[in-house]
Symmetry: C3
């Protein structure tokens, strides 16, 4: 079986699967590079309205593929390249993707898994899923941009507990901290995620892209160039006309 990142787009929805189930979908360097490539393709395809990202099998992602670490982590230049090009390259491709990304999380979501989930827009998780970044057991800290991403998504206290105390948190904690949008029974997770992806795909696609651009610009402290040029767009007219006519909009 091929491992790596599986991408399958149809009917406005793109399924992205972290696929290395024998290793609980631990991210190899090749998978980070493939994840970046996948999101560059998604970003370039105007038909896609929603990404649904999950792990193959019973888990989301156990972290990095530690078997590869001795080959490159002990040399400073290679280590920097790994974090700033490979890992951040993929996470940045997700963060700059204008299409809403739904994370479907079950089983373990650790280290790289938390980072990937943090780059999604909404996160649905099974009530038995578990979250952490216990890299202090592995003797290394989290890289700065990854720490900023995770700390912003899980909250600073939870980030410090994960990094400094190797704490593992249940889904209920992550929901209370604003990381998870919804927590579901294991057999309700997949239908709930599919339902959310379909709902997003039926909403105004340009508005979604503008909302993501707006929130990204706010974080960067910059202003969008023409934030109101959607005024005369077809979907703006359709949304308001449909509401006034009390019918479903057709975007």
């Amino acid at each position: 079986m091929n491992t790596g990142i599986m991408v399958d787009c149809q009917n406005h929805i793109c399924n992205v699967v972290l696929n290395s189930p024998d290793k609980l979908n631990a991210m190899s360097r090749a998978m980070w590079r493939d994840l970046k490539a996948a999101f560059h393709i998604i970003q370039a395809d105007s038909r896609i309205r929603c990404v649904l990202l999950r792990g193959a099998g019973a888990h989301f992602c156990a972290g990095g593929d530690i078997a590869e670490y001795p080959d490159f982590r002990f040399e400073e230049t290679a280590l920097r390249h790994f974090h700033e090009e490979e890992v951040w390259g993929a996470l940045d491709a997700m963060l700059t993707c204008d299409v809403p990304i739904v994370a479907q999380i079950q089983g373990v979501c650790m280290g790289a898994g938390v980072e990937i989930a943090s780059a999604c827009d909404v996160r649905l998780a099974s009530e038995d899923s578990k979250f952490g970044a216990p890299i202090a057991r592995l003797g290394f800290p989290m890289a700065a941009r990854e720490a900023a991403l995770v700390s912003g998504a899980v909250g600073e206290m939870t980030a410090r507990a994960m990094l400094l105390a190797a704490e593992i948190f249940p889904a209920s904690h992550m929901a209370a901290q604003g990381f998870l949008t919804r927590v579901l029974a294991p057999d309700e997770l997949e239908p709930a995620c599919l339902s959310m992806a379909l709902r997003i795909a039926n909403l105004a696609p340009l508005a979604a892209r503008l909302n993501k651009k707006t929130l990204r610009a706010l974080k960067a402290g910059v202003a969008l160039e023409s934030p109101y040029d959607y005024a005369n767009s077809a979907e703006h007219a359709e949304g308001i006309a449909a509401f006034i006519a009390k019918r479903k909009p057709n975007f």
Copy 2:
């Protein structure tokens, strides 16, 4: 019956009511302008120590008055004027008001309702209230400053779920996310809000204004000019004297 913004100030407390109950208090352009005017008056009146803001009838605010939208939203200049002058004019008047603002929320609190509530300091809500900003159904995104305000108040994940997936959240979710100060049974909401307004009105009024100025300056990344010039104020002396004498302070 007149619709609009009703303002009634007495005994240090100012009641502000979003009053268009036939439309679940949806905000018309005139109401946005009146809301701005109301808060400019409040800010200028040194007797006022607390604002209590609510909707008329059984709801807080259903959003904008969509019946007006075809008249101006499809032309870029008018759309910009609406968001940056009318809507933001009112929200900015609330955000720069130095008097503590308590939001009393029941029923629907959607779109403009979430924005107005986000500009309050504390928010009490009925346990059956509902929150969202499903404007993706209307085919348009949230304007940047409004998105920054809402995202800061409801948390980024909840903001993304509201904007990208048109999610509606119950009061319990909004409390866990730090948006609601307290959630109450429907018949306990009004007395709890009145009790909180009275409590605030009995606390040191200049300290409250300084606290609001401080928190606003922190967000803007600026420093207050004379942060310690309250040192020899009468209320500072009274507060500490009363504590040491084990009596209630009289501010």
Copy 3:
């Protein structure tokens, strides 16, 4: 009995005790100065891997020692010196300490207590503990840097409710808001804190220091100078070797 700050370091763990139990450990000016000195000593001692901070007796800290306030608070220069040198001196020494700090919180945690707890990395609390900063009853606002620290740790809504409405919150609220890492039954608090301190002391100590430096640099908007120079460190090699060999690391 001496009151003040008690410090006792052994086996990589440093116990810091706010010790003025007759006043529920209210912070005197001398205690603020001693707290600063304690953290400067801790920061300089490379053997220390975890700080466990608690109050003597049944409470964490009731706030400032108000009996001292009439002596200095009513003169602007002295007031500024108190907040910016004495109080912030101690809090800044905690915030710039590279060793993980665990707060063990029971009973009241008010005002100065919330500020001190906010400068810790993880916070465990007894389920009957109470949190607030009701200084509006004392007629004065929170100083700017203290307000920034507290608001960042408890969340902005909770900070506003504490400062503007003198609200007191139970541990359950503070956990939901991301302030408390865990809430425990009263008799489980001390063993849980000791267990967490021991766990932290067994994790990679340089990784912990780098993680704290990284999170601090992110807040300050600066970059660490050589973030990857840990590549060839002994603890990095040991952590990964131990994981691959499926044995416990020995840091």
